[in-house]
């Protein structure tokens, strides 16, 4: 093997030796020339092969990136659409707010999509086309008649309608790590004057060049010299696109060469329209907090609150002005610069005959008005978004949520969310004015759900609702205090040993644990109240009576009732859980009360209604999920106790304001570190928490700290009275808990409700009834007057 390998080397050296021996001095230059060309061609061939290989590589890169999904499209998250139908409770104030939050503008005649007009009770709304999850709907002109705070009638071009949906509000996105956000536009949806403005300022020979333009560079230099500064760049639009799309931002000669080559390749494969459309969607046009605004579609939405096709000439020119420097020419931060740039572009357009002189004067005369970046249509709802994202990840990969441009339809009700945010803000300020030592220390969290479906309508994770940060509604673990008590009373009612009029003892109680530690709870007022009814013990939230009741029923029974009501997580096996020494989040508490509010049906609290692909195909839609855990009649019986809390107990402040039957419970943890309030009307359940992040005691309890937030929020949302409990029958009951027959008018007795099941255990005692003259038969002095 070694010998064979050596042979060619020997031959080569021999031939070299012989050729040098044969050569003469005269022939040497010719040989050199000959060998130069030979080497030149050889190297050229090698270079060409390498260049070709490099071009093939670049070409593959260009095509791969350009042909597939060009961008990671963040999922777009929407609030619930406002569904209008005759009879719906809707104030003019709410309708107007909802329209404005979905970026609809008030106008004289609502003649363009995305606008509305009010004429007395009549509202004209030109709804934009919108891809709802059950099908895309075209733009529609609507007339809504509101009467007495309700929708009376609805018309569209076809005549009277029974049901229409408004466009839902955008409430945020699920962004990839670089936080690039964009709203894709098709070239035919972009106003021609925007395209013309872009080409005239950025690349006048765009339709003539092959990706790079020597003439363009020369013209740009000339224009810049004339204007005395940079008004035009030398790169073609194709080069700018390549730079943003494929390359890093480093400025080297080799990168510039690569950019030129790729531009040519791009132009070879794709027509001008495709390149232009990609450019319109790629270009960076601003920053909104964590979001990077890319493309004219989103920029139109962000700066002017409209779709790109609705842009005026002046607005188009303003956006084109941002291409040169999105932050330098930001119309909100630097309106003077932005206006100068806009007017320059309008001037160029007129100069090239794209617009008339009159159009230029009119457009240049317009003020630079931008929509507020803090308006509802552009702000995000971090607490709700976090939960929605979490729930979505049960069925979807995060990577898909960040890149596939999915549309997420949620249950958030912006009107209710707004009410909760306003209420929290107002009431915390009021509390802090009363207790200046706690200024800026109080935090809050809130959850509002629909009683019948478990849909989350509002979620507050902090008093600073718009900031991404610690989400207390989901992640705070705080002692639930007296909010736990309904579980103790339910366990008591369920045991068959108690009814609401059963007397129980509210006297000092001491429980000795296995380790010898003593637990001796005190009442909030530090007093004991002797014998009280079960109803009074819950109504007044008496700790000693509740602790004794819980111990009589048994800790295990109470824990299993807590589980039955849907409280997940760790429940330590200590007697102190009877008074709420269980760490829970406001969301978990809401899940627990949801089962009570929905008559014993446990419902997972949900945020997602449906998910569709970028082209409107439905991936999933979710409907109500409920599991019957407790007999509805028993739940109505428990609700009676919670209604008494509002009627004349620790939450009677609500009765003073609303004066309709509502069910609620106040909660205060040890040393007043947490103030809680959970309550529901016929439509919504609201759970509010107030406390300090450092877990220090506060000078407020559930009724003074958290109740005002609920009251304020529900005054805005509107309350609907709880219906009469159909499953309950009323009987007079004596102080010792003995039932009397219905109709017995015994002055010693008070009326209490019972379920049919409970009446099997407690029989009314006919003999015990001492019917006396009914008080109703006695005439008062008032009766004598009439």
């Amino acid at each position: 093997m070694a010998a064979r390998k050596r042979k060619p080397t020997t031959a080569a050296s021999k031939s070299r030796k012989s050729s040098s021996a044969r050569g003469s001095k005269a022939k040497r230059p010719a040989v050199r020339k000959f060998s130069f060309w030979r080497w030149f061609w050889r190297l050229s061939a090698v270079f060409s092969v390498l260049l070709a290989a490099y071009l093939v590589y670049l070409d593959a890169q260009v095509r791969e990136r350009f042909e597939g999904n060009k961008w990671d499209l963040p999922a777009k998250v929407y609030a619930r659409p406002l569904t209008l139908y005759p009879g719906l409770a809707l104030s003019a104030q709410q309708l107007k707010a909802e329209l404005q939050w979905a970026d609809y503008r008030s106008s004289a005649d609502a003649a363009v999509a995305g606008s509305f007009a009010r004429r007395g009770d009549d509202w004209l709304i030109y709804r934009r086309a919108f891809p709802f999850w059950d099908g895309a709907e075209p733009a529609r002109q609507l007339r809504i008649e509101l009467k007495q705070g309700r929708v009376a009638r609805i018309w569209d071009a076809q005549g009277e309608q029974a049901l229409v949906r408004l466009e839902p509000q955008y409430i945020g996105g699920i962004f990839p790590s670089h936080n690039e956000d964009r709203e894709l536009v098709r070239l035919d949806n972009v106003p021609p004057e925007l395209i013309a403005a872009l080409i005239i300022t950025e690349d006048q020979s765009f339709f003539d060049h092959w990706g790079i333009s020597v003439r363009g560079i020369a013209r740009a230099m000339l224009a810049n010299m004339r204007a005395g500064g940079m008004v035009q760049g030398g790169s073609t639009l194709t080069q700018q696109l390549v730079k943003n799309f494929f390359l890093t931002s480093e400025r080297t000669l080799s990168r510039k060469a690569q950019e030129a080559l790729m531009s040519i390749l791009l132009e070879l494969h794709y027509d001008k329209e495709a390149i232009l459309q990609a450019y319109l969607n790629e270009v960076y046009l601003g920053q909104a907090g964590r979001r990077a605004i890319h493309g004219f579609g989103l920029a139109a939405r962000f700066y002017f609150g409209k779709s790109v096709r609705e842009l005026t000439l002046a607005e188009s020119a303003t956006l084109v002005g941002l291409v040169k420097g999105a932050s330098y020419y930001n119309p909100r931060r630097h309106p003077r610069r932005a206006k100068q740039r806009r007017d320059l572009i309008l001037g160029l357009m007129a100069q090239h005959g794209i617009i008339s002189e009159q159009q230029r004067i009119r457009a240049q005369g317009q003020a630079l008005t931008t929509a507020s970046p803090r308006r509802a249509g552009q702000r995000e709802y971090p607490a709700f978004l976090e939960l929605a994202k979490k729930q979505l990840q049960r069925d979807y990969r995060l990577a898909d949520l960040q890149s596939e441009g999915l549309n997420i339809f949620t249950t958030l009700d912006p009107w209710i969310q707004h009410a909760v945010e306003q209420a929290a803000d107002e009431e915390l300020q009021r509390l802090e004015r009363r207790h200046p030592k706690h200024k800026d220390q109080l935090e809050t969290a809130a959850v509002v759900t629909s009683v019948d479906g478990g849909e989350i309508r509002a979620l507050l994770g902090s008093r600073k609702a718009e900031f991404f940060g610690f989400n207390r509604a989901l992640n705070a673990r705080r002692q639930m205090g007296s909010l736990v008590k309904p579980a103790v009373y339910l366990a008591a009612l369920q045991s068959g040993r108690y009814h609401w009029a059963t007397p129980i003892s509210d006297r000092p109680v001491v429980v000795t644990g296995q380790g010898g530690q003593r637990w001796a709870p005190k009442n909030y007022d530090m007093q004991s109240h002797g014998d009280v009814t079960l109803e009074a013990a819950l109504r007044r939230s008496l700790n000693q009576a509740t602790a004794r009741l819980g111990m009589n029923i048994g800790l295990e029974t109470v824990v299993s009732t807590l589980r039955q009501l849907g409280l997940e997580g760790d429940i330590p096996p200590y007697p102190s859980i009877l008074l709420g020494s269980i760490d829970t989040s406001p969301l978990e508490v809401a899940g627990f009360y949801q089962t009570i509010a929905s008559q014993g049906f446990h419902m997972p609290l949900r945020t997602i209604e449906a998910v569709t692909t970028v082209d409107g195909h439905t991936l999933s839609s979710y409907a109500i999920e409920a599991e019957q855990r407790v007999d509805p009649a028993l739940m109505q019986w428990l609700r009676y106790g919670l209604e008494q809390v509002v009627d004349s107990g620790t939450a009677r402040a609500l009765q003073q304001q609303f004066n309709v039957p509502l069910a609620a419970k106040t909660g205060t943890s040890d040393e007043q570190r947490d103030a809680w309030f959970a309550g529901f009307d016929n439509r919504h359940l609201g759970v509010f928490w107030v406390g300090r992040d450092d877990n220090q005691p506060m000078p407020v309890a559930g009724s003074s700290g958290a109740l005002p937030l609920w009251r304020n929020a529900f005054a805005r949302i509107g309350v609907e009275a709880l219906p009469e409990a159909a499953a309950l029958q009323w009987y007079p009951v004596l102080a010792d808990g003995q039932l009397l027959p219905q109709g017995c008018r015994d002055r010693r007795a008070s009326e209490y409700p019972f379920t049919a099941q409970a009446l099997k255990t407690w029989q009314p005692d006919v003999a015990a009834c001492q019917s006396e003259a009914s008080p109703t038969e006695e005439k008062s002095w008032f009766d004598w007057l009439f």
Partner: protein
């Protein structure tokens, strides 16, 4: 004379007001068995039968279209929108349960029917709910519970 004119004007005004009164949508409307779809040779006839609130009727019509195309998930979407308008309407929950059964979601059907029974105020309606509940229970292999529901129907009819 003036009195008469004023009185007539007042009456006209009151009449006008009464015509334009807007009635709220009840969360739990009075629903009877007539609001349920009929059965036709072992199959549910059509989802949009019966008298309903116009908005609910419009959604039932869309659900019926989806049913004809055997797009059960889509039908469920419309029915759930109807449920959000009248969350305690047993006739809506009944339809949702029936569609859930077509999707082989017998457990969901069972729970929807149990919820519908809470809100049913008419014995005939409850009987229809129980009959479908029995099917949902059978589909989960809970034949004893199904039989119990059927027996309740027989004993009450």
């Amino acid at each position: 004379m003036v009195r008469l004119v004023v009185l007539a004007a007042l009456l006209a005004l009151l009449a006008g007001c009464s015509n334009q009164a807007v009635y709220p949508v009840a969360m739990q409307p009075e629903v009877g068995v007539e609001q349920l779809p009929r059965w036709h040779s072992g199959m549910l006839a059509a989802l949009d039968q019966g008298q309903h609130h116009p908005a609910v009727a419009a959604l039932f019509a869309q659900a019926e279209q989806a049913r004809q195309q055997r797009q059960w998930q889509r039908a469920l979407t419309y029915l759930d929108q109807a449920r959000q308008i009248q969350p305690r309407n047993a006739a809506i929950l009944y339809r949702q349960a029936w569609v859930s059964l077509q999707l082989n979601e017998a457990n969901r059907a069972e729970q929807l029917l149990r919820r519908a029974l809470v809100f049913s105020q008419q014995p005939e309606l409850s009987q229809r709910l129980r009959l479908l509940l029995a099917e949902a229970l059978d589909a989960q292999g809970k034949s004893d519970a199904a039989e119990q529901q059927r027996r309740r129907v027989v004993s009450q009819s």
